[in-house]
Amino acid sequence: MSTYKIPVGPQHPAIKEAFQFNFELDGEIIVNVKPRLGFVHRGIEKGMELRSWVQGIYLSERICGICNVPHTTCYCIAVEKLHDVDVPKRAQYLRIIINELNRIHSHLLWLGVLGMELGFLTFYMYVWRDRERVMDLVELISGNRVTPSMNFIGGVVYDITPKMEMAIKKGMDYLEERTKYYKSVVLNEPTIKVRTENIGVLNKSAATDLCAVGPVARASDLKTDVRFDDPYSSYDEIPFNLVTYSYCDVFARVLVRVDEVLESINIIRECLDKLPSGPIMKKLKRTPPPGESTVRVEAPRGELMYYVKSDGKENPYRVKIRTPTLANIPAVCEMLKGYHIADIPAIIASIDPCYCCTERILFIDKARNKRWIWSHSQLRKYSLEWYENGGRR
């Protein structure tokens, strides 16, 4: 029996960014998958080293368009750890609010994308219409729809006034009603169910072995959430439920995310009720003292990790970023095996991939057992030479 190969990506409607999965198929059934990264490497980590500590916030915000808030939160907390200070309580609560608004926006966006991948355009249009409401709230707080630039080293930039509080609460009521409706659609619409149930199964032990993170892990019944396990920014003072499902398939991942939206809405309400008074910012020195820190936060896609090292100078000595999508790629390759071509979009979408945040460059030469990392200028030199030589190997 012969198999054949199809490339999905770097340009393919199922994958919105430049990423490649090489599929080995037997008829319509997937036998093997090989992922290939590295199409959109942007040299962000090197760029961090070339910028000052404050400029780093705005660069980290641009790593990912959708989950930009966790990135800045994580970076700011890491730098504050170097300073060894706690930010004011009000700032911590405001950080939770903006993080959860971002999570709602990200999960609703994902729900719409899933609808599109399943060919259910009506669902996609409706979900994205309601997602506008979250963006309006973010705009109300910060003046920007997508990238609020809310976090700063030592606190947050924008405060929430009582008037905004009312608007957010009203928005939350609307979103809760709509999200509950979408949950009933997902639970009752037969064509969504047949396309997601028992598709892309990743059982609990496989999820543990392949280090799945975030909603993917929680849909495989793993109780893992940084907000619970390693609370940051006063998450331990807010009661909320950890959503897990034991179906282990795409359907479970949908339900986890929809339920997380509902949880986020409750977290925001709780935060607004408990919002302490006081300053929102603590003034810190321009450069942190020498040292290193590692911080984890729960981004909408899963665990996000920053490692920051300072040598007491104007710029960070090293910033290492590990994004959730990278952690989930081994898991998605395992999920795809044995399913149909038609399931590819739904399964890949089920990890909520965000490839451009994933791209880092590390070379491993297996034959010579050697690993090395290229700097920005080396990479640039290599790329220029490569294109001068006709762009072929």
């Binding site: 054949y4 199809i6 393919h12 409607p13 199922a14 319509e28 609808g115 599109m116 991948e117 399943l118 060919g119 259910f120 355009l121 009506t122 669902f123 249009m125 409706y126 219409r129 619409e189 064509t191 969504i192 047949v194 396309r195 149909h340 071509i341 038609a342 399931d343 590819i344 979009p345």
Partner: protein
């Protein structure tokens, strides 16, 4: 011959006008564009969007603009395709629905002289259309096109049979294989006499037209554009046109078989015929709005497990009905 036609040769100039302008080529072409506009607009309104808006009043001319835009694009023939067929098939595809539409009694009487058995001819033309779709994908030698072509054939295996059985049950009931005769001899439209057959026919038509939930051969997020992947520019324009003409033909056939053709009070038959066709198009758009795309194996098992038994049940009921009427 059971037909009521007087058998005389019509005036050749009138025949030419009928074939070329009304209700022939140009009329069908315009109707295809109008139906695309209705489909897009209704689809958009169901999704809380506005739809085409800028070209012409309420975006009325948008399908025409799209067609012209595609015609002006570069005509690409990839290196490894079968060049002859690759260039020929987009030209053949629109001919089939047009030819088939000539047997529909659009204006009370079809353009080509109807005969006992033109229903079978039309079924043959629809089958050939599916084969053209398959060949168009196959000669592209693209992996996505090949998958799309294989899916088109698989889907065809699932849906042509229930569709033809539901047509057969109408034919048995009216004791004729002529579309015009069936359309003219419906004291009660068959949609009321054979509602089950109508639903089966509508679902199968949705599959024939490759619309959601059966747009599997060109499933965008899975296999790029399926069998259409390699076609661009004017060739794509002609395939899109042929798809629009298939929609016109499909709606026209449904109207003739199940909705009593152009019969109706006061208004002339052509107006009634158009109203009923628009009704069918909107029904098809609603189906497109409320479902997600299914998978090919789910579609096939659904077709063989539910549609075909139901179609056969309808056939048996139609036989009883025919006996009762006699």
């Amino acid at each position: 011959m059971r037909m009521g036609g007087d058998g005389e040769l019509a005036d050749p100039i009138i025949s030419l006008i009928q074939i070329l302008i009304f209700p022939g080529l140009i009329f069908l072409f315009i109707l295809g564009l109008i139906f695309e506009w209705i489909d897009r607009k209704v689809f958009a309104r169901f999704q809380n969007r506005i739809g085409p808006l800028y070209t012409g009043p309420r975006g009325f001319l948008q399908p025409l603009a799209d067609f012209i835009k595609l015609l002006t694009k570069e005509d690409v023939t990839p290196r490894y395709v079968d060049k002859f067929l690759f260039n020929l098939l987009p030209g053949i595809a629109p001919v089939l629905p047009v030819f088939a539409s000539f047997y529909l009694p659009l204006n009370g009487y079809p353009i080509l002289h109807p005969f006992e058995g033109d229903l079978i001819l039309i079924i043959t033309l629809m089958t050939i259309y599916t084969i053209i779709v398959f060949m168009a994908g196959w000669v592209s030698t693209n992996r996505f096109s090949s998958i799309g072509a294989a899916r088109a054939i698989l889907q065809f295996l699932g849906f042509e049979i229930p569709m033809f059985i539901s047509l057969a049950s109408v034919a048995i009931d009216s004791a004729s294989l002529s579309i015009t005769y069936i359309a003219d001899h419906q004291p009660i439209p068959y949609i009321l006499l054979q509602p089950l057959g109508f639903i089966i026919f509508l679902i199968a038509l949705q599959a024939e037209l490759e619309r959601v939930p059966f747009d599997i051969p060109e499933a965008e997020s899975e296999i790029v554009a399926g069998w259409l992947t390699e076609y661009s520019g004017p060739k794509l324009a002609f395939f899109r046109l042929s798809n629009n003409l298939m929609l016109v033909f499909g709606a026209g056939l449904t109207t003739a078989i199940f909705l009593g053709g152009g019969s109706g009070p006061i208004l002339p038959p052509i107006i009634w015929y158009l109203i009923k066709m628009v009704f069918v198009v909107i029904l098809s758009t609603i189906l497109r709005t409320v479902f997600a795309r299914l998978r090919i194996d789910q579609v096939l098992s659904g077709a063989w497990r539910y549609l075909i038994p139901l179609a056969i049940l309808q056939l048996i009921l139609a036989k009883f009905l025919a006996v009762l009427v006699m």
